[in-house]
């Protein structure tokens, strides 16, 4: 999958806006995108034809919507006087076909890469919102995606939509059309657009948390076997954006952590068995993030209860293993969640040991891009919490692996390795003997010549206080 550099840069600049285009029925059936060039009529000309009512109106309107796929035509359109008002009047008129085509025109406009198009569409928004609780599925979907696309483009649009009650409208929509998964997907998508706004934390998220939306989202979270992953994906992303903010108390109270964890576990089970449904990672990703952030806000003593099942760690290890080479970022996010789970909880640390997941984690330490540092952190957490297991950890291969990680170029790896070594040696002095046997002393001696003081001090301390008395060959 080719990712243009501009896309990455946009994300880094926090400018990534993801609009969604609903394909027309023709396009869906033929799986062909609209060809705007063929049979192209002059836009202004089309507009004129639409203005004049008559039996052909619907046809012209449909042609207009096709023309509006083109970004430059979008600009031309909004420059025409009263063009949007015309669409609005058709949107609210008595002809059902024309309403649909008018909605389609607005949808094409909403998808524009030009940010000045959205404000031009403002006259339509109160009606789009009104229509969320009625009409046909297709029509409601169009309205929802249109609103979601319009929202990020300008502050004027944002403020208007919020004032016009987009949040309660979305809440009602999902609640009333819960069983219509296409609509739920569309509404959840729109909500993701709201939740990504720069000032969402102050203006939007508190209102969303106060509404019925979070519980609605949770109830749709489990993928429908017939409909597929798409609605669950959108809901999961909403929950992720909510969990990123400070409103985790509400989410925890609703059992979001338990819900997301159990879903992750069943997905983990599927992944471990090799059943990787197409696009499953699109659902795994936001769920991981929800769990990761919710765990970080959850009081330690209720963590096990909130998560529900310590075997979540097994699912996380399965994700790491499955996605390590195909999507390393996802493996890294899984490792992050593991870190949060093991940081303060003895239960989860124990689970890693009893479920025999440690050797698998150790094998991941050669890999870079931040995966090994996070996993080494996890192992450090376990070593820290389970002092009685120091010998076991050493025997499972942690000690011999440290002999390799201590030689790595990544300073964080070396520092963490020294910390773990210290904890192991303190926990069980026999570990020191074994480390010496593995020729670890010369390794630490070499570190004493490292340019980083942090590393030198740790290495020297270990040598002085724990290792050199074991050395058979005393040096000068």
């Amino acid at each position: 999958m080719f990712v243009p550099i501009a896309l990455r840069q946009a994300r880094r600049d926090r400018q990534l806006v993801s609009k969604r285009l609903l394909l027309t029925e023709d396009e869906e059936q033929r799986e062909v995108t609209m060809d705007t060039a063929s049979g192209q009529q002059d836009l202004v000309d089309l507009l004129c034809k639409v203005q004049h009512s008559g039996p052909e109106r619907g046809t012209h309107l449909k042609a207009l919507s096709k023309a509006l796929r083109d970004p430059s035509e979008q600009l031309t359109f909004i420059k025409q006087e009263n063009s949007v008002n015309l669409l609005v009047s058709l949107l609210t008129g008595s002809n059902a076909q024309c309403r649909l085509h008018a909605a389609r025109c607005l949808h094409e406009l909403s998808h524009s890469p030009h940010t000045n198009v959205a404000p031009a569409c403002l006259p339509a928004t109160p009606y789009l919102l009104t229509f969320l609780s009625g009409q046909s599925t297709k029509f409601t979907e169009l309205c929802l995606y249109t609103l979601g696309n319009l929202f990020p483009d300008s502050d004027v649009v944002k403020d208007k939509l919020l004032a016009q009650g987009i949040i309660p409208a979305l809440a009602n929509c999902i609640e009333n059309q819960k069983h219509n998964l296409a609509v739920v997907e569309a509404a959840a998508f729109s909500l993701t657009q709201l939740l990504q706004a720069k000032d969402a934390a102050e203006k939007i998220i508190p209102k969303v948390l106060a509404s019925s939306l979070p519980s609605q989202l949770l109830s749709v979270l489990n993928p429908d076997p017939n409909f597929g992953l798409a609605p669950a994906i959108e809901c999961a992303w909403c929950l992720h954006y909510l969990a990123c903010s400070d409103g985790n108390g509400e989410l925890l109270a609703l059992g979001a952590l338990s819900h997301c964890s159990s879903l992750l576990m069943s997905l983990g089970g599927a992944v471990a068995e090799g059943n990787k449904e197409e696009g499953m990672e699109l659902l795994v990703c936001p769920l991981l993030r929800c769990v990761g952030n919710l765990v970080s806000c959850c009081p330690v003593d209720s963590l096990s209860t909130q998560v529900g099942d310590v075997r979540l760690v097994a699912a996380l290890c399965a994700f790491i293993k499955a996605y390590l080479h195909t999507q390393p970022a996802l493996a890294r996010e899984s490792a992050w969640v593991l870190n949060n789970l093991t940081a303060h909880s003895t239960d989860f640390c124990s689970a890693l040991l009893t479920l025999n997941l440690v050797p698998g984690l150790i094998q991941l330490l050669p890999f870079s891009q931040g995966i090994n540092t996070m996993i080494l952190r996890v192992l450090a957490n376990v070593t820290h919490k389970k002092k009685e297991s120091c010998l076991q950890l050493a025997q499972l291969g942690l000690l011999s692996t440290l002999c390799a990680t201590l030689k790595m170029a990544d300073q964080e790896m070396v520092t963490l390795s020294l910390e773990i070594l210290f904890m192991l040696v303190i926990g069980r002095p026999q570990v020191a003997d074994e480390f010496v046997r593995l020729s670890g002393v010369s390794l630490l001696e070499a570190i004493q010549y490292n340019s980083e003081g942090e590393m030198r001090r740790r290495a020297a301390y270990l040598l002085e206080h724990h290792l050199l008395s074991h050395s058979a060959d005393c040096t000068v």
Binding site: M1, F2, V3, L7, R8, R11, R20, L21, F189, C244, E278, G279, C285, R289, S296, C297, H325, T326, P328, A329, R332, N340, A343, H344, P366, F367, Q369, I371, N372, R377, A380, H384, K385, M408, A409, D410, L418, E419, I420, F422, I426, G427, S442, E445, A446, I447, Q448, Y449, N450, S451, E454, R457, R458, Y461, E464, H465, D473, C474, T475, V476
Partner: protein, 282 residues
């Protein structure tokens, strides 16, 4: 991280404990860089451009290994390469003058000829300079004789790197890009090992007169030791050199103040200072 009761020296040590690991929770905001890739995949999905499966992006890479020795910038992709590098270049190091020799035998000979006053005395009366070729066994009155022998009999090159005389020390090798197999022949600032003898003093004063410093080949510069003999301050080995060259007059900027305990020497068991000092601990 609290110290356990295993520290033999008690509370003083606890206060000075350099270890600080505590488990940490990470709460990530939505724009965190850890989320970058996942966000991009989501974007592609929404644009109907998403393809499940392997990315075209660069594949997951293996973490690199790096030589710890400050000033040595060698980096390796495999552990064996690291081991080889370290064993070749950093193991047999003379504690007195920090020169790295490729084998224990050459190190022995070096120490004997450069740093042993007894050798100097004996060499005035008898053939003390050993042939460098193992098994040859011949000895010579002067290093020049030995060198001639090496060239004539053993077909060594005239500029064999490990047969430098003390006088040759004045020559600095030219700066070259760091290569892994380059032997480290560095006469860096001398570390003050325990005790000093006339030979060592000569070494020091000789070096200082020439204003010798070593150029490093990496961004990190090795420290120049300027403190008096009372403090045990180690300098770092600078990078390897190759071939013959001119004197470098670059001085160092950084100075390490890290103190290495006297009980520790570089290259476990294969580094020696003076003869006869092995086994003695401070």
């Amino acid at each position: 991280m609290t110290a356990s009761g295993n520290c033999p020296t008690g509370t003083t040590e606890e206060r000075e404990l350099p270890f600080s690991f505590t488990p940490q929770l990470f709460h990530l905001h939505k724009d965190h860089e850890l989320f970058e890739d996942g966000d991009i995949h989501r974007h592609m999905y929404l644009q109907d451009l998403y393809v499940s499966g392997a990315d075209d992006e660069p594949a997951l890479s293996v973490s690199e290994f790096a030589c710890h020795i400050s000033g040595c910038s060698a980096v390796f992709s495999a552990l064996e390469e690291y081991e080889h590098h370290y064993n070749s270049l950093h193991r047999h190091v003379c504690c007195s003058c920090r020169r790295s020799l490729p084998s224990a035998r050459l190190l022995d000979i070096h120490i004997q000829e450069w740093h042993d006053s007894l050798f100097t005395v004996l060499a005035q009366r008898q053939d003390m300079y050993q042939c460098l070729v193992e098994g040859c066994g011949q000895k010579f009155r002067t290093s020049k004789h030995r060198k001639d022998h090496l060239i004539r009999i053993h077909k060594y090159p005239p500029d064999f790197r490990f047969d430098k005389t003390k006088k040759d020390r004045g020559t600095r090798e030219a700066k070259r890009p760091q290569q892994k197999d380059t032997a480290m022949e560095v006469a860096d600032d001398v570390c003050e090992s325990e005790g000093v003898c006339e030979v060592m003093c000569d070494v020091l004063s000789e070096q200082r007169e020439l204003g010798e410093t070593m150029e490093t080949l990496v961004e990190e510069e090795a420290a120049r030791m300027t403190k008096p003999a009372a403090t045990m301050e180690h300098t770092d080995l600078s990078a390897a050199f190759d071939g013959n060259g001119c004197t470098s007059s670059e001085t160092f900027k950084t100075q390490y103040s890290y103190r290495v305990p006297t009980t520790v020497c570089f290259g476990h068991s294969s580094v020696r200072g003076f003869r006869g000092r092995r086994g003695r601990r401070k």
